[in-house]
């Protein structure tokens, strides 16, 4: 979007996105969209369900995340509709978004495995003591 007649390239934002670590709220949003195209309210409800009530996203935070993910090319608009004279936009995961979610999931799984193994050792040691 031109600002003051000078174009700020979105490629720059894409590069920035791939360098940034995705925080848990953004990961939950990607997880929600992995189920299929959803609009903002549905994403909020889905994130609440996925996190078992621990992650409650409010509207302002949600749309900051959606904006960053969209600028970063990890999500895109699937379709729009007008409901009760208000715009409702549905988002879906892009291929890059799915790949990024897969990488983050794999990293989380490795971390979880390490933590589980160490906890088993800890419990074993505790039992011996």
């Amino acid at each position: 979007m031109p600002r003051c007649g000078v174009y700020v390239p979105s490629r720059y934002m894409l590069t920035r996105m791939s360098e940034l670590t995705l925080r848990p709220p953004a990961l939950f949003v990607l997880t929600a969209l992995a189920a299929g195209p959803q609009h903002g309210y549905a994403v909020m409800q889905d994130v609440l369900a996925i996190s078992e009530g621990r992650m409650r996203l409010h509207t302002g935070s949600l749309y900051v995340i959606l904006d960053r993910l969209h600028e970063g090319g990890l999500i895109e608009v699937d379709h729009e509709e007008v409901v009760a004279s208000r715009l409702r936009r549905y988002y879906r995961l892009t291929a890059a978004g799915a790949a990024r979610l897969a990488r983050e999931t794999e990293a989380a799984r490795r971390h979880a495995n390490v933590a589980a193994a160490r906890l088993r050792r800890l419990n074993t040691l505790g039992g011996q003591a």
Partner: protein, 370 residues
């Protein structure tokens, strides 16, 4: 649509004004849809957490664009130019104080017997060295260190001026333009910390027609040479001044050459040719900038100039009375508020005018911009 929807929706729309216009244009309507879907059936006012989240998210979006290197190339160049030039000016003002003190102390107190360091005003020497170092860090591309130095310089200036307020409040008011300049310098250098790449800083030294390069190497060298005139100005002034003593310890001074009518630069009866040359050089450099960068440099300079004008006109009476009376007259709440708000207001209005002007220009192709 239920009865509660209209006032609640209106209140949500007011809260959404915290977000930047671009964000509101893209997401405003769907955010309203989500907010209304999240609201309770008879809800008439936004919830506290929802409101707080909207305000903080809006501010984060506004600030995050600049902090994440989202400054436009013109704004980035202007911040670099302004930051560098203001560091040079601040350094030269301090070096002038040092030189003037050494020269005139020699006139009235005789030769220095305890070594030159004893004759030098240590505070001015420290600020001169400090701002010179920050200017060098700017040109070298060490933006984090330059920003840190500028913040230290600003805090130091606040400490010095604030420390003198109790005994001489007029000194704080007189130096308010200096505090404004250091504040905007520090703000510019802080804003540039997260800009992409150090290449942008090298633009200060190289004129690349393909980019919005603000200064060329020759310009920086010429600026430095002109700025050095500030340091030798007291020597030249001393050479052109006749000092006569009547034998009772009273000295009178007059210039060998006519004093030029240059307003503040010659108010004290001396031709400060170094200062005149520096002002001319700064004007020439700014005129050489490309229009978008030049507009922004002028915008960044406006608060300092406005503060100086405001102090000399609106607070002239206060300055004169405070210097005369003992105990000194302190600022009222309104005066203090005006001093703080004036530069911010000038900057805000200037930013708004600039955006309106450039939005109008955006309808016309602008040559030379990427």
């Amino acid at each position: 649509m239920s009865d509660h929807a209209d006032p609640l929706e209106a209140r949500y729309r007011r809260l959404l004004c915290v977000f930047p216009p671009g964000h509101r244009a893209r997401y405003g309507e769907e955010m309203i849809d989500v907010l209304m879907a999240s609201s309770a059936p008879e809800q008439r006012h936004p919830g506290f957490r929802e409101s707080l989240d909207l305000v903080l998210s809006g501010l984060r979006t506004r600030l995050g664009a600049a902090a994440a290197g989202g400054l436009s190339p013109a704004s980035r160049s202007a911040a670099m130019v302004f930051g560098f030039l203001s560091c040079v000016v601040l350094a030269m003002l301090s070096w002038y104080d040092v030189a003037a003190d050494v020269v005139w102390r020699g006139v009235f107190d005789g030769p220095v017997r305890d070594g030159w360091l004893a004759a030098v005003p240590h505070r001015s020497l420290a600020t001169g060295v400090g701002w010179t170092l920050v200017a060098c860090l700017c040109a070298a591309g060490l933006r984090q260190l330059a920003a840190l130095g500028a913040v230290v310089g600003f805090l130091g200036a606040v400490g010095i001026a604030g420390g003198a307020y109790g005994s001489a409040p007029d000194s704080l008011v007189s130096s308010w333009w200096l505090l404004t300049l250091t504040a905007f310098t520090a703000a510019c250098l802080l804003a540039l910390i997260r800009t992409a790449g150090t290449r942008g800083w090298r633009d200060l030294m190289r004129r690349d027609p393909g980019r919005l390069s603000p200064l060329g190497r020759r310009a920086v060298v010429a600026l430095t040479a002109t700025a050095l005139l500030i340091v030798v100005d007291p020597v030249a002034t001393r050479a052109l001044t006749v000092v006569e003593s009547d034998g009772d310890g009273v000295s009178t001074m007059h210039s060998r050459i006519p004093v030029l009518p240059l307003g503040p630069l010659t108010r004290d009866g001396d031709n400060h040719l170094g200062a005149v040359a520096l002002v001319v050089m700064l004007v020439v450099l700014v005129l050489r900038l490309r229009p978008p960068v030049r507009r922004r440099v002028l915008l960044l300079t406006a608060p300092t100039v406005a503060t100086a004008v405001f102090v000399q006109t609106g607070l002239r009476g206060y300055l004169e009375s405070s210097a005369r009376f003992r105990p000194p007259v302190y600022l009222t709440t309104g005066q203090s508020g005006a001093l703080v708000l004036a530069p911010l207001l000038v900057f805000a209005i200037g930013t708004w005018l600039l955006r309106r002007y450039e939005r109008r220009l955006a309808g016309v192709p602008i040559a030379g911009l990427k």
